[in-house]
Amino acid sequence: MRKLILAPIMATAVLASAAAPAQDTVKIGLIQPLTGSVAYNGTADANGARLAVKERNAAGGVLGKQVELIIEDGQCSPANSVNAAEKLIQRDRVVALVGAFCSSATSAVMPVARKYKTPFLTGVSSEASLTEKGNPYFFRSAETDALLGKAFSRLIVDNLGLKKVAYIGVNDDWGRGSAKAFEQELSSHGVETAMIEYFNHGATDFYTLLTKLRGSGADGVFVAAETQDGSTLVKQIKQFGIDMDVFGVGSWATSDFIKITGDAAEGIYAAVPYVSNLPGERNERFVKDYSAAYDHAPGKYAAAGYNSLNIMMDAIDRAGGTDAGAIVDGLHATDYQAPNGRYRFTRTGQGYGFDAALVQIRDGHTDVVATTRIADPQADGAKDGQ
């Protein structure tokens, strides 16, 4: 019995002594869903982040110190993500936070970051209102649903020639936001709306939804879904004998999506902020390093983790110290050459300037049909498309 009681105490002591010399590292906290329904994508993000930190440490770190990345599981849930943020700030004393993946989770962490004056960057959460909350510590190096919709609607109309489109989204902030944003943009280009429907995370049977889709008379269907739900849905669209152009947002243009979707993935279009065969030397280098580390090519979320950590480390370097105000100034001064374009931030902390691609899956590979740049949303007369 005594052994049982002693074991956790000893474990704590060992952990504490291991953590003690950590004063001379720069700590950055990362909150990602490592378990739960989007664990797969959260893990990809964390892998990208680890790679960025490893590369930076090999090149000397930031402020002359090594960077220590502390990863916590937020499970995409607001409550767990807030707990993770409190733990990272209070106990680990991180100088900056990155993460929380799901928009609802990120939104819950934002007030915590503000309370403790900790710079907070998300590389994934795309719900538009996050950067409009006036939180000076919050930045987003990702597209919003509206920006993506704006950038892609013309490409989709020009390349696919659709007249009447049905919209299907996963039932959360992101899925609803994306479906609405694309519906609005495509409508403004004269595309008719056949139907808008949502399904819940983890749903497996889409036949009811597809029965409605078949009866809607659409010639194309827009889908906002992540890998798991998206692949199940696409497979069932083909089984159901529906012959429509499918284009999706989410992590569609990845080798894993193609692998688990199989033949059903053939011919579908995906609007993605990142795909591993984007042209450019910077991206080739990233793909090579990432593949060497993890044995598969990076997808959208791996790139998001990689970019957000690099942006944060650049900002800390630029700040010349770990003062929160200086890091925020450093983030505002961001001009980061990513594998997918050049990231900068608006006054409200919204990233822009990076590329996004319309890809088609052919013979088990992603073909880039066209690329477009996410324009500065605050610049008047900003042009979409190249």
Partner: protein, 290 residues
């Protein structure tokens, strides 16, 4: 009209799957009075095992299913002998805590071993569409519904018409008397849990071949299985089947005519209505244990 037929067909198919998913839960509760919160995780393990057998070992679907059933049956037996036996006859709370702990352990172990990627199991038939008038199904779905029926029937026959089944029912009615009559009750409990585990695992593998599976799939399955069991009556076979079909068709009609985004509300409405109007479920025998 065509749409209605298709909705009802969709509902019946998913209802059959719900019934099979819930069967192991209702069996273990009915015969052992153990509320098994790890049921969804046993379902998930069945899918993962099926994937290992067909993809990694390269077996065909039926050999893979046989292997999965054997391994999961052994797991169920061991879980009962080494874990549940320790809290038997101590009321319901210890076994609830135990199975919740087990579910967390199983999810995270699977997460460490196979990772978060979705897993696809190669089915025994192609997923080609089959047209029955205006209704579209796939060969694999028709097969899966038939397989559900066979598994449910097999479980029913085991319990009604074998020596083991008689021993199970005797133990449930009065464990003391069963022991006095020479029944090895420890073995009966372990067999019951093994049978429940095999039913969950076979559902996991079968549905994994139609959809796909992943290590976090258990939670949602448990949720639906509890709805079915509460509706049908804890411990009732017929209740699980009717409950599953009602849930499936109700979800399909709600999704079809109202909205697919709010379809999970149906399960909760059913649970609330059942608890208000028929708290023991549709088919409960209301037997109180001696």
């Amino acid at each position: 009209m065509d749409m209605l037929l298709q909705f009802v067909a969709n509902g019946l198919v998913s209802g059959a799957f719900y019934a099979l998913s819930a069967l192991g839960l209702t069996l273990i509760f009915g015969l052992m009075r153990v509320v098994n919160f790890a049921h969804g995780e046993l379902y998930m393990l069945g899918g993962v095992m099926g994937w290992l057998a067909t993809t990694v070992l390269g077996l065909n679907f039926f050999a893979g299913l046989a292997l999965t059933l054997a391994v999961m049956g052994a797991c169920g037996w061991l879980v009962d002998r080494f874990l549940i036996e320790r809290v038997r006859d101590q009321g319901e709370e210890p076994s609830i805590l135990l199975t919740i702990g087990l579910s967390i352990f199983l999810t995270n172990t699977a997460l460490l071993l196979v990772g978060t990627a979705p897993l696809t199991i190669e089915g025994p038939l192609p997923n080609k569409p089959v047209f029955l008038g205006p209704v579209v199904l796939t060969e694999l779905r028709v097969f899966a519904v038939a397989a559900c029926a066979v598994l449910i029937l097999a479980a029913h026959l085991v319990i009604r018409h074998t020596r083991l089944g008689r021993a199970m029912r005797a133990t449930f009615q009065d464990p003391m008397a069963a022991r006095l009559a020479g029944i090895n009750t420890a073995r009966v409990y372990a067999s019951t849990f093994a049978l429940g585990t095999m039913l969950a695992a076979s559902a996991g593998m079968l549905l994994g071949s139609i959809y796909s599976t992943h290590v976090s799939a258990g939670g949602l399955v448990s949720l639906k299985a509890f709805v079915v069991v509460i509706l049908g009556g804890m411990g009732s076979f017929a209740g699980a089947i009717v409950g599953g079909l009602i849930l499936g068709v109700a979800e399909a009609l709600w999704g079809g005519y109202i909205s697919t985004g709010t379809v999970d509300i149906i399960g909760f409405i059913i649970v609330i209505l059942t608890l208000i109007f028929k708290p023991y479920g549709l088919f409960s025998t209301q037997v109180e244990r001696a």
